[in-house]
Amino acid sequence: MILNIKNLTKIYDTGTKALTDVSFDVTEGEFLVIIGLSGSGKSTLLRCINRLIDPTSGEIWFNGKDIAKAKGRQLRETRRQIGMVFQQFNLVKRSSVLTNVISGRLGYMNPMWSLTNYTPRSIRQDAMRALEKVGIPDKAYNRADELSGGQQQRVGIARALMQNPRIILADEPVASLDPVLAHSILGYLEKLNKEQGVTIICSLHYLDLVQRYATRVIGLRDGKIVYEGDNTSIRKMTDTQFKEVYGEEAQRMGSGLLGESA
């Protein structure tokens, strides 16, 4: 077991209760998919795990330590083992692709180096290798915003790879991309998962993608877990169960997608 979430609750300053008493385990090597309507708390959950958000209460056990209240050095050392991929890619648009990838290694570097332009040769080579893995080594010296959406997300994955992560959190990584690209991006994540045993926790919107990639699914609704199922039960997931998670909009969202997966 790599991650153990216990009674996690998040109440925003505005009073919104985004997560209520969420508990679940993640086994090493899983491809865990979080589903749920927009506003159900998926992003909040993922951001709590690497502590971009401070949970209100609850425990997050990672590597035998509760990191729910971690600070400073401990927090940074935890974060560098957890890569994150974002829906909006979150690249520094005006920096080069290579610089964006290198920034994935910052957690391992002496902060003083950031004041200079200097990056050790070995790290640059690692960054090139990460770009080769996602198939765009030729874009290394382009500005990040010159790349297409799919290419930018591959840079995002390469950046996460630089962390040598044990877990990758992916917050709707394909929601801004068209379906063909979605498979390509999720394919990279699956490859990492299968070949290197990196645990993936990924939120997704489309049922066909969930059925194709997930080894396990957790469904959120209004900040509570309303569904949990493994590989086989996902494939058998009924309309009713899907509705349970996605509410009354399920029909509309599901219909096209089921057709796609056929």
């Binding site: 974060r79 957890i82 890569g83 979150n90 520094v92 920034s103 630089m162």
Partner: protein
């Protein structure tokens, strides 16, 4: 001007007749009816239009206590004009005033009348008074276009060979003789002359200057001096120049004409003049020597750029550096201020929020004061000159750059910052990798843009004493040296155009 006011503040209508009567004081009935804004505007416009009309007539010297009964013959042209303009404005305003009473009546009833037509009357009255105050005179502008065009031509094209942009080297041929006033025992020493060069002889070596009071009270007429000249260049004009003692040399002018003579074919001439008045230095105890020179000039060599050209050139360089120094000083000081003026960075605690608001207010005030006003303050502070200009522009630059920078900081994308944090980067690394790349390009772009503005502004600031090309420009305008004005205008235009282009290109690269 007077918008249809939304709704009365009172739900129950007032008594219309009271509103009408109250509106004898403009707007009061409307206020009574609950249309406060409408009432205040009506009062302001009507009262001030009447007051302004009377002031224009009073200003022209018309006795307003007897208005409007005047004999047309008693008024001069200026008064007549004031009378016509003011009367028109008063008539139009009165239409508005009458409507105001009616409107006071209906407003009190809860339904104000549409203000479009009376609003138009009052607007026209305002424009009439405005035209009189600003002395708008289209006819004059049209009539004088003809007079101004030769001057304009000089400004637009100051590069003709005989304009002040160019000079030729001048060789002079002088014939010199010495004279003194008053006479004393020792005659002044005459200069020797080299054989073959031009020289002059004078018939007296001493005497009196004109205009001095004699003991009998009459004015001295001044000694008449006859000059004979030899070995001058035939047929070419020579002029008379005097240099008394330590007084600077000057040309002799009689009845508005310089004293000149043209030597005959032998290079000889005769010339007589009366020794004019000049200020004898107070320290003179003995007699004052006067150097009398008859001078021929010949332009030699090719055209060269003139002193005025180089003055302009130095001025524009001073202006460029004035703007550069102000921009750099402004940049250095604006960066820290901009962080304090960025909402997203300052919203952490109550104290920082308060500091944010205070700094914002100060920046807005400083920015709203024109650089030219800052220049006047700086001149009082450090005296006229380029430093005053630098100070003035720096102050204004800090305020406007700090605002632009802080907006750039406020608009950075938080996404990359989160992403970098998520890799385990610390604060410094996050700033260097996620914040700096996002703010540097807009900072560079705004700074260059500002330098561009500062160059333009420093030409104006120069004119009030802030140094640079504006200073020489304004002097030439006063001296009516329009060809020199043209040189300065050309230089400003060239530099501003180049800078405009360069700054646009550089900014393109960054945005």
């Amino acid at each position: 001007m007077m918008e249809e006011t939304a709704k009365s503040r009172f739900s129950v209508p007032r008594i219309p007749i009271v509103g009408g009567v109250l509106s004898i004081i403009p707007g009061l009935g409307q206020v009574y009816g609950g249309f406060i804004m409408r009432g205040v505007l009506l009062f302001l416009f009507i009262a001030s239009l009447y007051a302004l009309s009377l002031w224009r007539m009073d200003n022209a010297g018309i006795d307003i206590s007897t208005y409007p009964s005047y004999n047309a013959d008693d008024l001069n042209k200026k008064q007549e004009q004031a009378f016509i303009f003011a009367t028109l404005a008063i008539l139009l305003t009165t239409v508005g005033y009458v409507w105001n009473i009616y409107d006071g009546y209906v407003s009190a009833g809860g339904k104000p009348s549409p203000a479009l037509v009376p609003g138009l009357f009052i607007t026209i009255a305002t424009l009439i008074i405005g035209a009189h105050i600003t002395e708008i005179d289209i006819a004059k502008a049209v009539n004088e276009i003809g007079d101004v065009s030769p001057r304009l031509k000089q400004i637009l094209w100051p590069w003709n060979p005989d304009d002040s942009a160019f000079t030729r080297e001048v060789e002079t041929f002088d014939g010199v003789a010495m004279w003194e006033t008053p006479c004393d025992d020792t005659p002044v020493k005459q200069p020797t002359h080299t054989e073959g060069e031009s020289y002059i002889e004078i018939d007296s070596v001493c005497g009196s200057i004109s205009g001095l009071r004699k003991p009998d009270g009459s004015r001295d007429e001044g000694t008449t001096i006859n000059i004979k000249g030899y070995d001058f260049r035939p047929g070419e004009e020579a002029e008379l120049v005097l240099k008394p003692g330590s007084v600077p040399e000057f040309r002799v002018v009689v009845e508005g004409e310089r004293v000149r003579v043209i030597p005959d074919e032998n290079g000889e001439f005769e010339l007589s003049f009366v020794m004019p008045n000049f200020t004898i230095p107070a320290t003179a105890t003995t007699s004052t020597p006067v150097e009398i020179t008859v001078r021929q000039k010949q332009e030699v060599g090719s055209l060269k750029l003139s002193e005025d050209f180089w003055l302009s050139f130095e001025g524009i360089i001073e202006t460029l550096f004035l703007a550069l120094m102000a921009t750099i000083a402004g940049l250095v000081l604006a960066v820290p201020v901009s962080f304090l003026a960025a909402r997203n960075l300052m919203s952490t605690s109550r104290i920082t929020i308060a500091a944010y608001y205070i700094i914002r207010v100060i920046l807005n005030v400083v920015r709203s004061i024109e650089p030219i006003v800052w220049a006047l303050i700086a001149i009082i502070w450090v005296g006229a000159g380029p430093f005053a200009g630098v100070l003035a522009l720096t102050i204004h630059t800090i305020a406007s750059l700090a605002k632009l920078y802080s907006e750039a900081i406020e608009s950075i994308d938080p996404g990359p910052i989160e992403a970098i944090q998520a890799t385990g980067a610390d604060r410094l690394q996050t700033i260097m990798y996620a914040v700096v790349p996002q703010v540097i390009p807009p900072f560079v772009s705004f700074t260059i843009y500002r330098w561009d503005i500062n160059v333009r502004m420093s030409t104006i600031i120069g004119a009030v004493g802030g140094g640079g090309i504006g200073l020489v420009l304004i002097q030439w305008i006063r001296l009516a040296k329009y060809d020199s004005v043209g040189i300065a205008v050309w230089m400003i235009a060239i530099v501003v155009t180049i800078l405009d282009y360069a700054s646009a290109r550089i900014r393109e690269q960054y945005v």
